[in-house]
């Protein structure tokens, strides 16, 4: 494959080419030339309106549930959705069935990565069977290629387990991830607790349920000096707690689901179960605080928290519907729509590249001659309306149908492959 990308504006705050408009030539999966004006008769020419090019995006948190729930999403459909959303690498929550808690499970994922357009980054569970009791074989999974340890939406509620895991991972610099949610606070909660849940008579999940576990985890991180990442935080106080902890020099980081920057709980007034997810969509004022957290540099990364659910799991009474939204295809557009008037495009792209790369300690695919061609092509200024017919996932639980979003992804290039038409 030989690709000639014409007139692309480079978005890479770490590169000297940042914001320059150049042509990029790709041969056999490598960047072979970057210049003002390249011509090559044999290359397939790629040209788009207002074309921007950045390092390939990384998603820190997707829930593909393969094996076990392939009818909701398998690796193939998940990859297609990821590529359409601009991602070349996606971090996988280990809550498949069976859960990914052993070396062989990690290898199952790694073996799917033979020069694919979208690479899967497997996470292993922290505890055996993600039950929160005993440590899984973390080192073995680390050796097999697990990029982090995470019990998925099963928050690590036992502090003793988290202390052991944080301590244990220090010997090989393993990364722990936690979704902090103390379920005992609101065992039956289905949406954000606030004015809206009160008016709907639905059981609420207060932000407090996230904050008290997050606060505990910060203490444990300080106690152990282990490396800990908080995924999908959704509260103003969480942002503040993390800011304070970072000032003290703790080894912590955090991400936010991009959909949570755009959707607030007022949209649940119609009891639309497509909007039921975890953490729940929060109030308007919390959304503002999360955006402030991004502006101030407290939030390290954005993720899709893509969580496919089939129609049978969603088309039911709100209380009975499963949690989760699909967001791989809309992750960037949601973030870009919410943030464009607040921060630079460089900052937004950093949250999908530099942030996740630094947290996961994975290669940074620089845009330079001789480097591996792993990049995303997009237009941050174009509007589009996301429709059911655009969905590449097997599931249709998107909160964005019919909504106008800003930020179109043209496609991705990686491992000598691309999804550009």
């Amino acid at each position: 494959m030989k690709l000639l990308i014409k007139k692309a504006k480079i978005i890479d705050s770490s590169s000297s080419l940042n914001e320059k408009i150049v042509d990029v030539l790709v041969e056999n999966g490598k960047i072979t030339a970057i210049d003002k004006n390249i011509s090559d008769d044999q290359a397939k020419v790629v040209s788009f309106k207002n074309l921007h090019l950045s390092r390939g995006w990384v998603d820190l948190h997707t829930n593909l549930q393969d094996p076990g729930y392939e009818h909701k999403e398998d690796f193939e459909s998940g990859r297609k959705a990821a590529a359409a959303g601009g991602f070349t690498r996606i971090g996988l929550s280990p809550l498949s069935l069976p859960v990914r808690d052993s070396k062989s499970q990690i290898e199952y994922v790694i073996n799917q990565n033979k020069s694919t357009l979208v690479e899967l980054l497997p996470y292993g569970t922290v505890s055996k069977n993600a039950e929160g009791k005993e440590l899984a074989e973390l080192y073995d999974m680390h050796q097999a290629g697990a990029k982090a340890f995470f019990d998925g939406k099963n928050s690590i509620s036992n502090p003793n387990l988290l202390i052991r895991a944080l301590d244990y991972c220090r010997s090989f610099d393993g990364l722990l991830m936690n979704f902090t949610y103390n379920k005992d606070i609101s065992p039956e909660g289905v949406m954000n607790e606030g004015e809206v849940s009160t008016s709907l008579g639905l059981k609420g999940i207060p932000e407090l349920a996230e904050e008290i576990m997050l606060n505990r985890d910060i203490y444990l991180s300080n106690y152990t000096k282990g490396r800990l990442h908080f995924t999908t935080i959704s509260s103003a106080a969480s942002v503040q707690l993390i800011a304070d902890a970072k000032k003290k020099g703790l080894n912590i980081s955090c991400d936010v689901s991009s959909a949570h920057l755009l959707i607030n709980d007022l949209e649940l007034e119609s009891f639309d179960s497509r909007l039921k997810t975890l953490p729940p969509f929060r109030s308007k004022s919390t959304v503002k605080s999360l955006i402030q957290g991004i502006k101030k540099g407290i939030i390290d990364a954005l993720c899709s928290d893509h969580w496919p659910q089939d129609i049978e799991s969603k088309k039911k009474e709100f209380d009975h519907a499963e949690f989760g939204i699909i967001n791989l295809q809309t992750a960037f557009a949601a973030a870009n729509t919410a943030l464009q008037s607040e921060v630079s495009i460089n900052k937004i792209i950093d949250l999908f590249t530099e942030g996740p790369e630094r947290i996961l300690k994975i290669d940074k695919n620089e845009i330079k001659v001789g480097a591996k061609a792993n990049f995303t092509l997009f237009n941050p200024d174009a509007n589009f309306t996301f429709e059911k017919k655009n969905v590449l996932s097997k599931s249709l639980n998107s909160p964005f149908f019919g909504k106008q979003l800003k930020g179109v992804v043209y496609g991705v290039v990686n491992n000598g492959k691309s999804n550009l038409n």
């Binding site: 065992p187 039956e188 004015e195 009160t198 008579g201 639905l202 039911k316 009474e317 709100f318």
Partner: protein, 315 residues
């Protein structure tokens, strides 16, 4: 006669003041009808109504059924505890199966908030919400406001205290919406564990002392303590014992003497005598509890009649 602004009665939230007034004036006529020796009118002949009760109910179901029969509708009843539905069939399938037998209107009680709203997006019949979880119970709120209007002449400007388990109460929420739309002031009173944290955002006063609530109110609406909703296995109970609940929030004549007040007393039933209210007060002159029950039939006839006319207009 006018028409309602909606084809379903999903909640008070979806009604405007004119709708409520129309329901009341229609109920006035039906109240006269049900006090005649011959209580039946042919208004809903050829209309088939299904009463779908996915949660136990005695009086609401009876009240709806009487209202339907007095309007000469054909009535079918379906009762299923939530557990038997969870065996597999979805709500939409269950209801569509019943509608396939040519049913025009559905009266539904369901344990999950929003279930009638969800259903209204997927089926064709008119839906009347007979209570959905802790969300709304619109006909109850309508009959309550109607009963206040009957007793005191007007709802506007009246001070209504709703006392008890506000957290799990669809009656409280619908009453808050309805009474506010009609210009009344609403206070909620009960143990802090049973008052939703954000209830003030609905524009109500919050009071934890029953004495103070009684000093303030013209009407005191006592709610039943729903023992079945006092916490699942997974959570801690909301108060330690009924005895203690009665000490703090039981309405007794001693308490009324102490605060020197005699508000109108209401209760949506069924009453736990000796828990939230003493027998003496439940049967007293100021109690309009049985008027509420009587008005319930008239209000439900009015709602059924108005929605059925909508139905006919469409066809």
């Amino acid at each position: 006669m006018g028409a309602l602004s909606t084809k379903h009665l999903l909640g008070i939230k979806q009604l405007n003041q004119a709708d409520i007034e129309l329901i009341f004036s229609t109920a006035d006529n039906f109240k006269e009808v049900i006090n005649r020796p011959i209580k039946k009118v042919p208004s809903l002949r050829d209309i088939t109504i299904a009463n779908l009760f996915f949660e136990n109910s005695t009086r609401t179901k009876l009240s709806f059924e009487l209202a339907e029969k007095r309007l000469s509708a054909d009535v079918v009843n379906f009762s299923a505890a939530a557990s038997s539905v969870s065996k597999g069939e979805t709500l939409i399938d269950t209801v569509n199966n019943i509608l396939a037998m040519k049913v025009d209107m559905v009266v539904m009680r369901h344990p999950n908030p929003g279930a009638p709203i969800f259903l209204s997006k997927h089926i064709k019949a008119n839906i009347i919400n007979a209570g959905d979880g802790a969300h709304e119970h619109p006909t109850q709120a309508l009959l309550d406001a109607y009963s206040i209007r009957e007793k005191l002449g007007d709802v506007k400007g009246k001070k209504v205290a709703i006392v008890g388990d506000i957290l799990h109460s669809r009656v409280a929420l619908s009453n808050i919406y309805c009474l506010q739309k009609l210009g009344a002031e609403v206070m909620v009173c009960g143990p802090p564990t049973l008052i939703p944290k954000h209830i003030q955002s609905l524009g109500v006063k919050v009071e934890f002392s029953l004495d103070k609530a009684l000093e303030w109110s013209d009407i005191c609406m006592m709610l039943r303590i729903q023992l079945e909703r006092q916490g699942s296995d997974r959570s801690v109970k909301y108060f330690p014992s009924l005895r203690e609940y009665h000490q703090l929030y039981g309405l007794t004549s001693e308490r009324l003497k102490k605060v020197k007040r005699s508000p109108v007393i209401m209760h949506p039933g069924p009453i736990n005598r000796g828990v939230e209210i003493s027998s003496e007060l439940a049967d007293s002159e100021n109690s309009i509890i049985l008027n509420q029950v009587e008005n319930g039939v008239a209000i439900r006839m009015a709602v059924l009649y108005l929605l059925a006319s909508e139905h006919e207009n469409e066809e």
